[in-house]
């Protein structure tokens, strides 16, 4: 079977034969960037379609079903509509910040994709601080949101951005602590090492109850970080029209929308890497025949399957729960999630020291 690492090494050899080492590196950077961009855009289109279908079914309706078979071309039609619309900036906005904000948000969410391991040997940047890098970079996005809210010169946008700031800063803590539980058990921050440490079983199974608890906390906290319902106070259609992107139109709005889904993708990738074993197949210790059958399913199916599972969880929350009030939101984080994850981390550290995990 062709592995992704074979393809990348073949591309590297071909380019090295044609170009000087410096140019090869540059060409590979561009190729990797374009590949990730195309991949992510395809994912986002699938996510938007999936979101609308899931929403429809959960609310006893069909979702899009007119454009194409089962409405499958609806999202593409919407993307073309956004591309054709004028990106209009109102008179009294801060033009520089207003036009910069969407691109900053987008760039930040693409940066978080850098240390992700997509398949065996297919990783753009195998750094030893991978998980730390992702959680650090993904919280820079709030600067773009604050920028958009401030520069719009609009009270609703500013309130939305401020809420988003408060929310992301607080939920970053419990998301980080829940990832730390796994990092403590496996002893490495590198994405590759974390995946390799799960070859004999995913952390969610190996790590007993504390890891299951930190998985739940991570899903809740990351939903909040993505500014998605039930934590969508930053947008809150019924209160703030659209929050920080009220004044954006055309592709400016489109980029914010795109970023929301890329953030979801990043969150799902981190959750599936850290808790569900990344691209590793599902193995049960002792069942050799079963494990052998599981090995035949390609790694990308495992990885994408896990991503879609997490995304479905997030969508399921969105279309079930009503929006929290701002005080309830902060109460949930500071009074429940954070103390519980700290206690959880202590328990995990104790288990790790005693060597009780598998």
């Amino acid at each position: 079977m062709i592995q992704f690492s074979d393809i990348t090494s073949w591309i590297h050899e071909t380019l090295s034969g044609l170009l000087s080492p410096g140019l090869t590196f540059l060409a590979e950077l561009v190729l990797a960037g374009v590949a990730v961009l195309a991949m992510v855009l395809v994912f986002v289109v699938i996510f938007v379609y999936m979101e609308r279908k899931v929403a429809g079914f959960m609310q006893l309706r069909y979702g899009p079903n007119r454009v194409g078979i089962w409405g499958s071309l609806q999202v593409i039609a919407d993307v073309f509509k956004l591309l054709l619309k004028e990106s209009f900036a109102p008179d009294s906005v801060d033009k520089l910040l207003f036009n910069l904000a969407p691109y900053l948000v987008l760039a930040v969410s693409f940066m978080a994709l850098a240390p992700i391991s997509w398949a065996p040997g297919l990783q753009m940047w195998d750094t030893n601080i991978g998980v730390l890098f992702i959680s650090a970079v993904s919280s820079i996005g709030v600067i773009g949101i604050l920028m958009a809210g401030w520069s719009s010169n609009n009270k609703y946008s500013l309130i939305g951005a401020m809420r988003s700031g408060a929310q992301i800063v607080s939920y970053e803590l419990s998301a980080g602590l829940s990832i730390l539980a796994v990092v403590a058990m496996c002893g490495s921050l590198s994405v590759h090492d974390i995946i390799q440490s799960q070859a004999d079983g995913w952390w969610i199974f190996k790590g007993h109850l504390p890891i299951i608890f930190s998985f739940v906390v991570y899903v809740i906290a990351s939903t909040a970080e993505c500014n998605r319902a039930p934590f969508d106070l930053a947008e809150a259609e019924s209160e703030l029209t659209a929050g920080y992107h009220t004044e954006y139109s055309g592709m400016g709005f489109g980029i914010f929308y795109l970023t929301e889904y890329i953030n979801m993708l990043v969150v799902a990738m981190v959750a599936s890497t850290v808790f569900l074993g990344g691209w590793l197949p599902f193995h049960i210790y002792g069942f050799e025949a079963f494990n052998h059958v599981m090995n035949f399913i390609p790694s990308w199916i495992w990885f994408f399957g896990k991503i879609f599972f997490i995304i479905f969880l997030i969508m399921w929350f969105r279309w079930t729960f009503p929006r929290l009030r701002i005080d309830q939101l902060l109460k949930l984080e500071w009074k429940y999630l954070l103390p519980l994850s700290i206690v959880n981390l202590v328990i995990v550290a104790f288990i790790t020291i005693m060597g009780w995990h598998f």
């Binding site: 079914f57 959960m58 309706r61 279309w319 079930t320």
Partner: protein, 160 residues
């Protein structure tokens, strides 16, 4: 100790109540055929569409099988209409015994101005007009909205 227990109990109860909501939406998600209540409009217009009999769609002047209507051109409906939708054009005709009589010439109905309030129906002393339950009223040309409701050649129904 008691507070800690209550705190943990609160967390457990929260998860239980959240799960009951999640279970319901998961049931809806996994049983789309059974649960979806949306009507597919253009497809169902010949099959399952149900427009109630009393739905106020448009005003019609009822004609019987002899092409006779009951309108005496009293213009009470025209006066009752808040929008100026109705225009009754009457004509003077001479009966056999030499009397002059006012009869209906044109019952002009401007659908574009009608708000379907049915005050004309209430105002009519002869019960000559009713509301029909039709609802696909759009036309391509604005002048098509102005309709003459009395059929050509129709006449007043004689009192029996």
């Amino acid at each position: 100790m008691k507070t800690v227990l209550r705190y943990l109990q609160e967390v457990a109860l929260a998860f239980r109540s959240l799960w009951s909501g999640l279970r319901l939406t998961l049931y809806f998600f996994t049983h789309p055929r059974k649960e979806i209540i949306t009507e597919q409009y253009p497809e169902n217009r010949t099959t399952s569409i149900n427009i109630p009999e009393r739905f106020a769609g448009e005003v019609v002047l009822t004609h019987d099988e002899n092409n006779e209507h009951k309108c005496t051109a009293c213009t009470l409906c025209e006066m009752a209409c808040p929008n100026g939708t109705i225009k009754i054009i009457s004509a003077q005709v001479e009966t056999e015994d030499g009397k002059k009589k006012k009869v209906l010439d044109k019952w002009v109905y401007n659908l574009g101005m009608c708000t379907f309030c049915a005050q004309c129906i209430d105002a009519c002393p002869q019960n000559a007009i009713t509301m029909k339950n039709s609802f696909e009223l759009s036309v391509y040309n604005r002048s098509d909205l102005i309709k003459t409701l009395n059929k050509p050649g129709s006449k007043l129904k004689e009192k029996s």
